[in-house]
Amino acid sequence: MTLALDHLGAEAPKRDRRATARRVTLTLAVLLGLTSGVSVSVGASDASLNTAMIDLINGQSMSDLNRIVLWDIRLPRLAMGILVGAALAVSGVVMQGLFRNPLADPGIVGVSAGAGLGAISAIILGTYLPAQVLVWTGSGLVAIAAFLGSWVSVLILYRVSTRLGQTSVATMLLAGIALGALSGAASGLLVYMADDQQLRDLTFWGMGSLAGATWGKIVTAAPIIMIALASTQFLARALNGLAMGEAVAHHMGIPVQRSKNIAILAVAGATGAAVAVSGGIGFIGIVVPHLLRLATGPDHNRLLMNSALLGASLLLCADMISRVVVAPAELPIGIVTAILGAPVFLWILLRRHGTMGM
């Protein structure tokens, strides 16, 4: 009798995490829909999709103000929030899987620092560029430079830590710290050269914001982020295997080196593009995957998709808070994500402390 009960006890919850993960996907998709709707309606102006719909139904065309607010400000902001939130969260998942470290983050391997150096260089040294280049790049110069910075740092990192086709995760982590320090030092030197206006720009870029969202920026960032996110969906099995180490993953038939290459490129693309258009938005990449692992376990099959959905929703919520608390001014979103994220991160650390020996 006892045996049979034990057996049932072991059987019943077995499929739960897979089923839960599927339910979570649905819930998160609905949540993202709701957050998107609210996000479009919240702000200094009372324009909303609702009023726009009512206008349309009543046969009136939208007022110019409403159209500008919705089409030129809120919708691009919504699209960018979804893209950046998904990109940061998925980059976190992939990075953590690759480094077998639940606390790893694109920030740790110097990708964000590289992007920062690129942005700072553009803000301060951009004035020395030929006028032609400035005209051609326009306001996107900072974004392009940040993207290049993150890309170059990943390439250098990869060069340093890959010997004979094998990437050593430990070397990569340490090289990332060194690269991050180097980028930070170079950025610090550049800041000395900055004038007052440039320092203001730097500060706001560093805190991160979706306020600068334009359709133009989205057109540059979206394809890169979409390709990166789509390619990570093929990495689920590899990342699951890599959780037991590269050797075991190889024994299980996973093309380890190719998977690592894809993972690194995807992270560089997604993080680079996200940081480029939105500045330093932290904690999404660490908090989102952790919360989902607590809820549905570490299986990457659903974790990647769910992280993208939750990351997008979370960033939209943070963006709404940043728009509302000091309206009509706004708080940089990086401050909001840090205030929301840092305590969650600490809580995760404390929880892990007992069970994982960390």
């Binding site: 034990d6 057996h7 006890g9 072991a10 059987e11 919850p13 077995k14 995490r17 897979r18 899987g97 077998r100 470290n101 639940p102 689920a236 099995r237 699951n240 295997g241 890599l242 959780a243 037991m244 180490g245 050797a247 075991v248 190889h250 024994h251 299980m252 038939g253 996973i254 093309p255 380890v256 692992r293 376990g297 570490p298 299986d299 990457h300 099959n301 069970t355 994982m356």
Partner: protein, 262 residues
């Protein structure tokens, strides 16, 4: 499975020198030798994990020409110990051994594998909270799942085990080696790195003795486990006898205590 002229150097140090190795399906082939003799390196080379200037052939195929997934259908590898970075559950770890990983649903096979390693009912436990010996058996269940799943082809499957009994109690040491023996008995091939000479003598059909990267001897346990060779390789005089009525040698270090007069 055959390895010819295997030379491996890691960094500036030569680990294996011109090792020739042959294992037959249907047999348990053990690799023994002192710490640092190159046993694990040889196993990793046979697994295709480390490159070599020589050749390793598995079921007649040069393994360097095989894709990782092709290798995975022919052999499973159990490392000395496996840490898992995230809080996977036991049944999830075992399911990772399936070709489709966690996306696959084959609870029957995973349940059978867990029961095989005496861990039935552990499905829902968190891997990270298990003892070292239990973790090792979960990993063995994962490896068994991997090789069982591809059993339908007519080529022999291989199990490569690196000190599979190092962290196990005596009952589970015998149980795990019985699993290896059963696997060989139905036509599979087993290559196992061992430290315990008595268990080696009991379960191995063929033994390779490695020291300082060279093969010092190979053959049946009674051919290899002799006082001279053990003295050469381990540097101590090991008293070795044979079981009455059976040609199985055994090592009895307790005798040394008498000899020392203690």
């Amino acid at each position: 499975m055959q390895g010819k002229s295997i030379c491996v150097n890691l960094g500036r140090k030569d680990i294996l020198h011109d090792v020739n190795f042959k294992a037959e399906p249907g047999q348990v082939t053990a690799i023994i030798g002192p710490n640092g003799s190159g046993k694990s390196t040889l196993l990793k080379t046979l697994a295709g994990e480390i490159g070599t200037s020589g050749t390793v052939t598995l079921n007649g195929h040069d393994i360097s020409a095989l894709k990782p997934w092709q290798l995975a259908t022919m052999r499973g590898v159990l490392p000395q110990s496996t840490t898992v970075a995230f809080p996977f559950k036991v049944h999830e770890i075992v399911r990772l051994g399936l070709a489709n990983g966690l996306a696959a649903i084959n609870d029957e096979l995973t349940a059978k594998a867990l029961a095989h390693v005496d861990l039935a009912g552990f499905e829902d436990r968190s891997y990270q909270t298990l003892s070292g010996g239990e973790q090792q058996r979960v990993q063995l269940a994962r490896v068994l799942t991997q090789v069982w799943e591809s059993q339908h082809t007519d080529q022999p499957r291989w199990l490569l085990l690196d000190e599979p009994v190092a962290s196990l109690d005596i009952a589970h040491q015998l149980a795990v080696l019985h699993i290896a023996g059963d696997f060989a008995a139905v036509g599979g091939g087993v290559v196992v790195v061992m430290h315990d000479l008595n268990l080696t003598a009991l379960f191995a059909d063929c033994v390779y003795v490695l020291s300082q990267g060279y093969v010092w001897g190979s053959g049946t346990p009674s051919e290899v486990l002799n006082i001279d060779l053990m003295q050469q390789v381990y540097g101590i005089d090991l008293p070795i006898s044979k079981v009455p009525k059976a040609p199985i040698p055994f090592v009895l270090p307790q005798v040394m205590r008498e000899r020392l007069g203690a």
